[in-house]
């Protein structure tokens, strides 16, 4: 990767977008955004803008794909052509197929799948604008859509990356930090259970750095968990208001 910036972190330990090393990007979450889906949510995390919708539990076609003892989770992570600098073909890329798989595997441990045998729960994530860390934002928002759909869960799944940039460990990398930095470690956590449901890494970390990065990402997940809960509360408060008004 050709470096477009000499330094991603300046002498005041400030990142290009003004953040400190352990600071999340500004996050805005909305639950229940879409009217057709059984559950939905929207997240803005920095310049990431991502929608998630959940349909189900519902009958599965073709039937031979149904599982006799649990629900089948189906997950599609998809990017709009205009979400990135160079127009992306709408056909799913290999990257999107892999990310769909790891997101599904990150969310499944949180769902009581055994409650809904022979059904499917479909999770659709549409990235409207991408700026690094979309798989984490996608998990965060999809977990809220599952909650909004009323699907029983062990815990919300909260996701956040940490990594190494200009030799420093930083939280919640944006696109340029991800591409030009030394390491990016996305993590998904059920914070109440201390259970890691997604971990990936690209880059170069010693075992020590790895442990620190992991802890930093974990702290990020916990902050995001709080924001997720606030968003759910806001939705229920709004619903309550509407109901009481009537």
């Amino acid at each position: 990767m050709r470096k477009t910036h000499e330094k991603l972190i300046n002498e005041n330990s400030t990142r290009l977008d003004g953040r400190k090393s352990n600071q999340l990007r500004p996050i805005k979450i909305e639950v229940g955004t879409l009217s057709n889906a059984d559950g939905s949510a929207y997240i803005e995390q920095g310049k990431n803008k991502i929608l998630a919708a959940v349909y189900g539990p519902k009958e599965l076609h073709p039937k031979h794909r149904a599982l006799p003892d649990r629900a089948l989770l189906i997950c599609r992570y998809h990017m709009a052509p205009f979400s990135v600098q160079e127009r992306k073909s709408p056909a799913p890329s290999r990257r999107e197929i892999e990310i769909s798989k790891v997101i599904r595997e990150a969310l499944e441990p949180s769902v009581f799948v055994e409650y809904y045998p022979r059904t499917s729960i479909d999770i659709f994530i549409e990235v409207l604008q991408a700026d690094g860390g979309t798989r984490c934002s996608g998990i965060t928002v999809a977990s809220l859509a599952l909650a909004d759909a009323g699907i029983p869960m062990h815990d919300l799944v909260s996701a956040c990356a940490a990594g190494k940039v200009d030799g420093q460990l930083v939280l919640d990398l944006n696109d340029i930090e991800d591409k030009e930095g030394e390491a990016d470690l996305p993590l998904a956590l059920m914070p109440n259970l201390n259970a890691i449901t997604l971990i990936q890494m690209d880059g170069d970390l010693s075992i020590n750095e790895f442990e620190q990065t992991l802890n930093l990402a974990k702290e990020g997940c916990k902050q995001i968990h709080a924001l997720q809960k606030d968003a759910l509360k806001a939705k229920y408060a709004a619903v309550k208001e509407v109901v009481e008004e009537k």
Binding site: L34, N36, A37, R76, A80, P81, F82, Q85, L128, Q129
Partner: protein, 266 residues
């Protein structure tokens, strides 16, 4: 006959009867559009973008500009490409996969309105004649389907085009160099699509999902800024009389003018 068919027929009858009395289930008049909400420039990564809410129907349009080759029969004109995706997030009826006939029809009807009204000055998108032109990608992203995707998408596409900026450039030794600053995409017409649903023998404008489910057919009229018709499309399994079509054209003219004000000032 299955019970779901019976239910559908009962519903159809009820909606048709209401309409024959000039009423609709959602309390609109026969020729009323749902409320239009418009946001532009929502996707900073895109050269242009807009999000339209037409009632609960929601469409996002992003415009990307790339440099490519012109078609050989029009070597000095830019290229317009419209694509629609009915992503499964937007409706329980939409499935993942390449665009089906509904998505293709949607894209092509929106495309036709823009193209036939000559909304974009494509000759201004020529960089090096016969070799390099700008390609304008219009991606229609349906986010929530509550009926009348065509009109919502056409409005979003127009609003996004009006919001589009192209980077400045200069040509040195047949190479294109990007220069600082941006120029507005040259938009010289403002086509607006107006869709009617035929339910029994009556037409209603801007059908929502429940009406679409029981309609016999739909009819879309795209009107340019001079009040002329630039595109038509019939959809669905019903048929029309000549009189109803002419009547619809006049209503469309008037509705288009109203909607255009919202989109163009947007």
């Amino acid at each position: 006959m299955t019970s779901s068919i019976t239910v559908a027929r009962v519903k159809q009858k009820r909606i048709a009867e209401l309409i024959s009395h000039g009423k609709r289930l959602d309390e609109r008049g026969l020729n009323d559009f749902r409320e239009v909400q418009l946001e532009v420039g929502v996707i900073e990564r895109a050269e242009g973008s807009a999000r339209v809410r037409l009632g609960k129907t929601e469409v996002m349009v992003g415009i990307k500009i790339e440099i490519g080759e012109p078609f050989s029969d029009v070597p000095n004109q830019g290229v317009l490409t419209v694509n629609a995706e009915l992503v499964p997030l937007a409706s329980p009826k939409f499935e993942p996969g390449p665009p089906n006939e509904n998505a293709i029809e949607l894209a092509r009807v929106v495309d036709r309105g823009i193209r036939e009204s000559k909304a974009i000055s494509t000759e201004k998108l020529c960089i090096i004649p016969g070799k390099k032109v700008f390609i304008v990608f219009v991606d229609l992203w349906v986010l929530n389907h509550d009926g009348n995707l065509i009109d919502a998408s056409a409005m979003a596409a127009l609003a996004a085009l009006l919001n589009t900026k192209i980077f400045n450039y200069e040509i040195k030794d047949d190479e294109i160099k990007i220069k600082p600053g941006y120029t507005q995409l040259p938009i010289v017409d403002h086509p607006i699509a107006v869709t009617f649903a035929k339910i029994d023998d009556n037409f209603v404008v801007d059908p929502w999902l429940v009406e679409e489910q029981v309609m016999d057919a739909r009819f879309t009229i795209t009107i340019d800024k001079d009040g002329k018709i630039c595109a038509l499309q019939k959809g669905g399994y019903g048929y029309f009389s000549m009189e109803k079509i002419l009547e619809a054209a006049k209503i469309a003219q008037q509705k288009a003018e109203e909607l255009r004000k919202i989109v163009v000032k947007g």
